[in-house]
């Protein structure tokens, strides 16, 4: 599945795709830490880096735990940072349910490692200014998350989104 393209605004500064194999839980977080390093290298605003890092980590762990593998594309624009997550299944039946805090189908092996609070997707959504989750059961899931780089376009009128 390929995520839909947002309206083109600003100039694309950087683009890179990372692959996350199924069950790659031992070193999950490898993509997120790399993304963080890249964003800092590009001089992206610290608050934006923090939010994108959180979104990336949760998307990355979900691909590793729940899917047959997938990929993450990072796009840095002048005015925003975007992450696209896509995987090759199994897909999500009930999109409302997985957005509910506390809902988790994490297997025991993942729970032993501290996953399975059912907070990943809600936290991705909270840290993104635009969050689009699509899925085709049996096929796969695609998520697009956008974080604006300019304060006034950000969620919560620029005061950050910490609760």
């Amino acid at each position: 599945m390929s995520p839909s393209t947002p309206a083109k605004r600003g100039r694309l500064l950087y683009r890179r795709t990372f692959y996350v194999p199924a069950g790659a839980i031992a070193d999950v977080g490898a993509v997120s830490t790399q993304v963080r390093r890249i964003l800092r290298g590009l001089g992206v605003e610290p608050e934006v880096v923090r939010r994108v890092s959180i979104i990336c980590f949760e998307g990355e762990t979900n691909i590793a735990i729940f899917t047959k593998g997938g990929r993450i594309t990072l796009m840095v624009w002048e005015d925003r940072v975007e992450l696209f997550f896509s995987d090759s299944g199994p897909g999500i039946e009930d999109l409302e349910l997985v957005r509910r805090p506390g809902y988790s189908t994490a297997p025991d092996w993942a729970r032993e490692l501290g996953f399975g609070a059912g907070m990943g997707i809600p936290n991705m959504e909270k840290n993104a200014d635009v969050f689009v989750l699509r899925s085709r059961p049996g096929k796969g899931t695609a998520i697009r998350a956008t974080v604006w780089r300019s304060r006034d376009e950000r969620k919560g009128s620029g005061a950050g989104t910490r609760a």
Partner: protein
């Protein structure tokens, strides 16, 4: 109070200690990674029983000042190596999470102002 002072006061053993001067701005306890991702704040010390590679990733991404591994087996050498590489302070203790949290809380509530 910096990580070195906290480590000394709590008698922590260094697993990887690349930034002992990091300022410890508070503490956070959880064994759930996504809870730490959601609720820990930059500069906090994270007390946990988890001791695998993902802990280093969370600490790095959340810009935590240190991770304190509560009572349990020594972490794998690759965890220590990764913490060193990523610049994450990783320390361990023979004490449980409850005791560590209590002692850290007391230590930090004294605060730099009232010392």
């Amino acid at each position: 109070m910096n990580a070195r002072e906290v480590a000394r006061a709590l008698g922590l053993e260094a697993v990887a200690f690349p930034h002992p001067e990091a300022e410890v701005e508070g503490g956070f306890c959880s064994d759930l990674l996504s809870r730490a991702m959601a609720e820990a704040s930059p500069g906090e010390a994270w007390i946990t029983y988890q001791r695998h590679l993902n802990v280093v990733a969370v600490a790095k991404l959340k810009e935590l000042s240190m991770v304190i591994l509560a009572r349990g087996p020594e972490p794998e050498p690759e965890v220590a190596a990764r913490a060193e590489e990523e610049g994450v302070n990783l320390l361990r203790s023979g004490a449980g999470m409850f005791e560590l949290a209590g002692r850290l809380y007391t230590l930090l509530s004294r605060g730099p102002r009232n010392r």
